[in-house]
């Protein structure tokens, strides 16, 4: 899940200055779970914008704003209201905002901050657990990611910065990931995993902009086509 929060309304107003007609878009996926871009929040945003003197030409909550097919189709359904608007205020993640902007050919304003990929611990509490590094090492740590959850992303065990109560020196509200790993490995009799030296990460796997194209499937498709 992409963890999101809304931008300050004052900052949104500043971004919209000089415009009059706004379309408000939301997303029924992450933005709804985080309660910042679902039906309720989009309606609330519409109300606030109207109170601030804007004309809201329409609103729509996409099922998933980062699915291009969905955005194209629902964009057509809302064509008139979109066309009438000076811009679209998007209450979705940065990917959703760009999908909407690119595919619908509209000026967008991001209404949310995309924070991280995280777990919804409970409503209002979210924790980052994966950095999408492209080289998952959960195997070696019995399911706790030090790349994400150790503030220094260390691969070979903790630094000297953990407190007696197992917190990180950078932020006493955060657990030292390596102590969590140590305790779990010890309990399960897997401490040998911690003793094995780990090589440096291959950061070329995190080179932006990342993309994934199913080459194999294409080849398969080609082959399949050839045999026809």
């Amino acid at each position: 899940m992409i963890i999101l929060k809304q931008k300050n309304f004052e900052d949104i107003l500043e971004a919209l200055s000089g415009e009059q007609k706004i379309f408000v878009a939301g997303c029924a996926d992450c933005a709804t779970t985080c309660k910042v871009g679902g039906e309720e929040e989009v309606a609330e945003m519409k109300k606030k914008l109207e109170e601030a003197g804007f004309q809201v030409t329409g609103t729509y909550v996409f099922d998933t704003a980062c699915l291009s097919g969905e955005v194209r189709q629902k964009g057509r359904d809302n064509e008139e209201a979109l066309k009438e608007a000076d811009s679209v205020l998007v209450l979705a993640c940065g990917t959703g905002a760009q999908t909407i902007g690119d595919l619908l050919g509209v000026t967008i304003h991001p209404g949310l901050e995309s924070l991280f990929i995280g777990e919804v611990v409970r409503l209002g509490k979210y924790q980052e657990k994966c950095r999408a590094c492209g080289e998952c090492i959960l195997e070696y740590t019995d399911g706790i990611c030090p790349v994400t959850r150790c503030s220094k992303g260390l691969l070979n065990g903790p630094c000297g910065g953990y407190s007696k109560d197992g917190k990180c020196e950078v932020d006493p509200d955060k657990d030292c990931a390596w102590l969590l790993i140590y305790e779990r490995l010890k309990e399960r009799g897997h401490l040998d995993k911690m003793k094995t030296p780990r090589e440096p990460k291959d950061y070329s796997k995190m080179l932006s902009p990342r993309q994934l194209v199913w080459k194999k499937s294409k080849e398969k498709a080609k082959t399949a086509g050839g045999t026809k």
């Binding site: 065990g157 630094c159 000297g160 910065g161 090589e199």
Partner: protein, 291 residues
């Protein structure tokens, strides 16, 4: 390679430490090093932007120490440089005549005076030790041959009073396997805890220099207890330090450091004294510890 020779000879080895200044004025740092460290310590660490606070670099100050006849220990952290920059700096350090390198992960960026900076941590301290070893063997991290091979004497750090201790021991062994030839420790104020630590690491066969940080005031001791992980100043020491007038504080600080050193001398192979600017007190600590 005075440090290596001193450690090999089996005598008790004392090292000191300089935190480079913020700015280009090295005058007093070098004057003090010359006056208080020459003849008193075997080598002097130069910290690498300690506490993530911007300062002049360790390499330049190490080179200046060499110029005045003091053996430097080049501290290198993984916080600010990726693997290209780390390797390049290691080669540069070698070109400048530096041999002793202390490999550290480094304090985190938010703790310093540029909290908005991008933290690097491309590799960690264990991996940095492997890199140093590879360079010594004439290869870079990518396996390419070097033209001209550096000579290094690598060391590492450990936190003997961390709780739990076992993760530190696991990492210490990894550092030894990666090539660490000596260890300097985090500040120790509890000889009992240090003895237990040494009992566990003696078998590793690598020299350990116990970390002695001069306590400047009861306030500093309390601050360390609250903010510095792995450091625990016993209440009795805080009381002792707080019991004297401000003018006698340096004397008391020296007395405490010397006492700690005396108590732990027999347990390990040396001491690393971190005076945090009170360089002038280091000879007094050493004299008092042997008295």
């Amino acid at each position: 390679m005075k440090l290596q020779q001193a450690l090999d000879s089996g005598g008790f080895v004392v090292t000191g430490e300089i935190g480079p200044p913020k700015g280009t004025d090295l005058h007093s740092a070098l004057e003090e090093a010359k006056e208080y460290y020459t003849d008193n310590v075997v080598a002097v660490n130069v910290t690498d932007l300690q506490s993530s606070v911007l300062r002049v670099g360790s390499m330049a100050v190490c080179h200046k120490l060499l110029d005045i006849g003091i053996e430097p220990i080049y501290q290198m952290t993984c916080r600010d440089r990726n693997r290209l920059a780390l390797q390049s700096d290691l080669l540069s350090a070698s070109v400048l005549g530096l041999e002793n390198v202390l490999a550290l992960t480094g304090d985190h960026v938010p703790l310093g005076d540029h909290p908005q900076a991008k933290p690097v941590f491309d590799i960690d301290s264990v991996q940095l030790l492997y890199v140093i070893e590879a360079l010594r063997q004439g290869k870079d991290m990518a396996g390419n041959e070097l033209s001209g091979v550096p000579s290094f004497f690598p060391g590492a750090v450990v936190s003997p009073c961390a709780e739990p201790l076992e993760p530190q021991l696991i990492k210490m062994e990894k550092k030894i396997n990666a090539g660490a030839k000596f260890f300097q420790t985090q500040a120790v104020y509890d000889p009992g805890a240090f003895e237990k630590f040494m009992d566990k690491v003696r078998g590793f066969g690598v020299p350990v220099l116990v970390g002695i940080v001069l306590l400047k005031s009861a306030g500093m001791a309390k601050f360390m207890n609250e903010n510095v992980a792995g450091v625990s100043v016993p209440d009795a020491l805080i009381k002792e330090l707080g019991s004297v007038d401000k003018k006698d504080r340096k004397k008391k600080s020296v007395e405490i450091a010397a006492r700690l050193l005396r108590e732990m001398k027999g347990m390990c192979q040396g001491a690393h004294i971190m005076p945090l600017g009170w360089d002038s007190e280091v000879p007094k600590v050493l004299a008092a510890a042997t008295a």
